[in-house]
Symmetry: C2
């Protein structure tokens, strides 16, 4: 049996229900985290909880994340998760029917859900990346550095990529600057230096991005770079918690090839080793 | 007792529940409509259902809206609604855990909810409008002409307005062009001509906007206009289904006053009369 935690209670999936009045359902008015679990330990959990808190603050959702560490441990134990994915979502809960939240609504208060899932099948072969027509939402419109439940932009870009037999879509901002893919952050290597889009471009402050920057044996530079920079790269890879590192072999629609496999493998191994090290360290803490 | 319809069934609010796996809850992956009900008739219902269908198509959510007309009539009768608000929401339902929808998921299929609410208290006094820092999401990133459940941009702008003792916030696009407020479309009168932002600016194709353009005794021009055009107006009003027309008396933070009440009252009366006419016509159909 796989359990979830909904507002503090263990429930089975069939009982993991929320009201249609929840502003998460009405408006996508919430924030979530996706976290890797290795050897029963949630990787970089304090970092994820700090980002969750910052995202909630940006949306002005009042929720104390202090007890989540214990909830996470309880859920991983209950579901006997060794390796897998953990998801935490917090929404503004029930409130006014309009856009303006009403903190004095009789049912006001955040809704929070913790769930676990098995690791999906991982792609290690180089994939095709699509330069589609969907622009990344501007950081002038949304706090895009956090994982808000405002995902239709990513969903549409990803569907567009799939239409063109590509695994993911590269998204640029309104100035034509490289941001990220629909589902992950992007890195590229040029002349022995590792590059990624700076947060100023309007990208997710990704947890795997964070780990890769920390673990990189190459100097890392965060840039606001035009598409041309990517096309001149020696290797390109994408990352997120689930993948965690995928080499880009072909950039479409211009049909340009890259030899990214070796570089992606190197970073994937660095990441797996760090997850192992993190788990051992936590077990002895 | 007030009922809702969830996936075709009448339920009470306490039983109007959806799974936390619903992509509406996870990602705001859906579309909704807010509709005025007068004398038991849903105003401009065919227009709303056409916009709903177009929004669903833009998000590639498969759902046949044909039977909604009957569902709406059934719910209005069941809840004995004479005057009020009707809300229809359709989400992509349960699917893959990632951004990419999986139409072959065993639980795949849209989730749809119909609900009614009383008319809230209406503001007829002139209000203050705030020029805040939140840019409108670009139509290059999202199909903003439809009411997607991607509302955090509007929610944050509205909260920002409230911080400054204003009822709503004016939102510009990434080129500094007037779009709309966080919660409604905007109109202004200058030298006997009525102006509103064109859809090309990246604004909601609002149903009240549609009605006002149809009913206006003044020539109507849709424009891509800079903020200066609004500041030179003779009168300004905002509209949505609920309000339905509110005069702007003060533009902040520059503290510029407008005499908008007479014009707003004229358009509100035109709209109320059309709702009455529409209800009578429907009753005799």
């Amino acid at each position: 049996m796989t359990y979830l935690i909904v507002n503090g209670d263990f429930v089975l999936a069939r009982d993991a229900l929320i009201s249609v009045e929840d502003r998460g359902f009405r408006y996508g008015d919430g924030v979530f985290e996706t976290i890797a679990v290795h050897a029963g330990v949630a990787y970089q959990l304090p970092w994820h909880l700090a980002r969750l808190s910052a995202g909630l603050a940006a949306l002005r959702i009042v929720f104390d994340t202090t007890n989540l560490t214990k909830n996470v441990q309880d859920l991983l134990a209950k579901n006997k998760v060794s390796d897998g994915i953990l998801r935490i979502q917090v929404t503004r809960g029930i409130g006014s029917k309009g856009y303006l939240p009403d903190p004095n609504h009789p049912k006001a208060g955040a809704t929070w859900v913790l769930e676990t899932a098995p690791l999906p099948a991982i792609i290690h072969q180089p994939v095709s990346l699509w330069l589609g027509s969907f622009q990344k939402i501007s950081s002038s419109a949304l706090p895009v550095q956090y994982k808000t439940c405002q995902s239709v932009n990513s969903i549409l870009a990803r569907l567009d990529a799939t239409d063109h037999d590509c695994v993911d879509a590269l998204m640029l901002n309104d100035k034509g600057i490289i941001c990220e893919t629909s589902s992950g952050n992007i890195f590229w290597i040029k002349d022995g230096t590792l590059y990624t889009s700076s947060l100023a471009c309007g990208v997710l402050m990704g947890s795997t991005r964070h780990a890769i920057m920390r673990l990189s044996p190459y100097p890392v530079i965060e840039v606001e770079a035009p598409l041309a920079a990517l096309l001149e790269a020696d290797a390109i890879f994408m990352c997120n918690v689930v993948w965690p590192v995928i080499p880009v072999g072909l950039f479409q629609p211009i049909n340009k090839s890259f030899n990214s496999t070796e570089m992606a493998t190197q970073f994937r191994e660095l990441l797996y080793n760090d997850r192992k090290f993190y788990s051992r360290k936590s077990a002895h803490a």
